[in-house]
Amino acid sequence: MTALLRANLPVLVVIAPLFIAFILTPLARRIRLVETLAFLATVLGLGAAGHLATVVFARRGSPFIYQLGGWPPPWGIELVAGNLGVIFALVVTGVSVPVVLFARGNLTAEVGDTGRVTRFYVLYLLLVGALAGMAVTNDLFNIYVLVEVVTLSCCGLVSARRHPRAAEAAFTYLILATLGSAFVLGGIGLIYMLTGHLNMGFAGQELGRVWPDYPHTVLLAVSFVIIGFGVKAAVFPLHVWLPDAHATAPSPASAILSGLAVKGYLLCLLKFLYGVFGGVLLRELAVHRILTLLGVAGIIAGSLLALTQEELKRRLAYSTVAQVGYLVLGGGLLNATGLTGALFYLASHAVIKATLFLAAGAIQAATGKSRIRELAGVGRKMPLTMAAFTIGSCGLIGLPLFFGFIGKWYLLVGSLEAGMILPVVAILAGSVLCAAYLLPVIRTAYFRPAPAVAWRDPGRPQKLALLLLATAVVVLGVRPGPFLELARKAAAELMAFV
């Protein structure tokens, strides 16, 4: 039995949440059971991802290749669980557990009756399964399908909140994300046209051979892919849908959308750029310069926009735009240090942003207030929630000994190695701006007198979820060792294509 499980781990990470998602809808009347099953599904996913990580670790660098249906690569769909896949699968499943714990018994106010709550969990599990699929898949069309699953479940999650603004935000998101999907599909179509392969490895090899013959088509394919994933991942000038969608979604949904969904698209973008197009082509078309510039613009603009927001969740949403900038920047540096930083920061931001959004959601639910200056004294009334928020903020600012620091440090060193001064300035300025938009929240919460009302910390599962995430921010900040090693190996996998 264990041998059977071990042999099928890459696919089990994906299908465990999907299967459980399919049995939830008929159980809508027994909401406790639905919640427990959803929790079990994420725990199962985490277990599978953890086990997969140990298996891949033991293989010392050679990836775990899984052929669906037993069909070998050029024909069949191939799942490749290397270090890159493992790190992302770990992040996805790891963050999904506390978020689903936070949602437990806590959605009725934001989402509605049990039928709607059940639908929320179904979409949530589909999203987690599809993101885990993005981590391991090595097939272009498979990526497109997963992108669609992620997009549609994200739209559903945003519109799950019973609020006119949520419906509007979900609609805008749906339109723009569909446009993004069309671009992605166009890019995949062009690559398939040029190479005749849908397997990323084969397509990449073939493209490396034929691209000098079709320079314009390749240019078009690259731009389609960058624009498509750029819209979906909210890379700076294409981010317009994100603040509304992430700020109006129910809090657990905001956490997972900002923390994970956006990262899934970025991972796909990296897989396309490095795995399919390859370093030679990227340098030839100056794609890495474009990515660096987009990243720099995103960091500065996202942070400045966050600074001007009055509402807590909107400020966090704009902050996501800025953090996406760091990841894009890291992808454009074209060196191992920068990529290590980007991958590590991807993980840190997933955990940190989930902490911040869940804490913000708990505060909003308890106080009924969303503007930052109305939150005076929350720190004393809701000590645990605000402590988690503070720890998350320290991580996002990039203070040493917190999870966000190492990633930013590696990005900084990577920029210096690449001999570029603009990213260095942007990374440092981004941290200062981040402090400028997060510290006032903490100051208001702790040092302003509280009004005489009974605000209280959320219930036990919510507290546990916040505690888990905040602990992760501190522990992985103090002892980043194994995780950093994983990020370094994953970066090396991508750098093999350069």
């Binding site: 059977l4 099928n8 299908i15 399919f22 809808t25 008929p26 052929q67 669906l68 249906g69 037993g70």
Partner: protein
């Protein structure tokens, strides 16, 4: 009384449309079409029934609970068929490798697990179409 002809004609045609949908689903492995197209045909036969005989009768034929069940378990059925391979120690979604007899090429039973998988997809698509239709009719009224 007014739509007597419509109802009589529908009573004659609809069963054939339904059976044709099933035919398309089951022949997905050997002919054009397949479970998605077939599922839509099956779904549309119910949609036509509900339009002609009235939404109440349509809902009596396919209650909401049945739709919820078929929608969820149709998809789950696909997954379970994929698991057949796992049970035999070969990869997910394996067909011939899982020891399923593929029969004579070109005949109906030559798809191994594919017609069974298609059945799950077809049922799911059909119930989704009907659910969509009922939802839209509810919003209108």
């Amino acid at each position: 009384m007014r739509d007597f002809i419509l109802k009589r004609a529908a009573a004659l045609i609809l069963p054939f449309i339904f059976v044709y949908g099933i035919y398309v689903i089951l022949h997905g492995a050997v002919s054009p079409g397949g479970s998605f197209a077939g599922g839509i045909i099956v779904g549309l036969s119910f949609v036509a029934f509900a339009t002609i005989y009235g939404i109440e009768k349509g809902k009596a034929k396919l209650p909401e609970q049945v739709l919820v069940w078929t929608e969820s378990y149709g998809t789950l059925w696909y997954g379970l068929m994929g698991m057949v391979g796992l049970g035999r120690g070969v990869p997910f979604l394996a067909n011939k490798l899982a020891g399923v007899d593929l029969g004579t090429p070109g005949t109906l039973a030559s798809g191994g697990l594919i017609p069974l998988i298609g059945l799950g997809v077809g049922i799911r698509v059909a119930s989704t179409i009907v659910t969509l239709f009922f939802t839209m009719m509810e919003e209108e009224s």
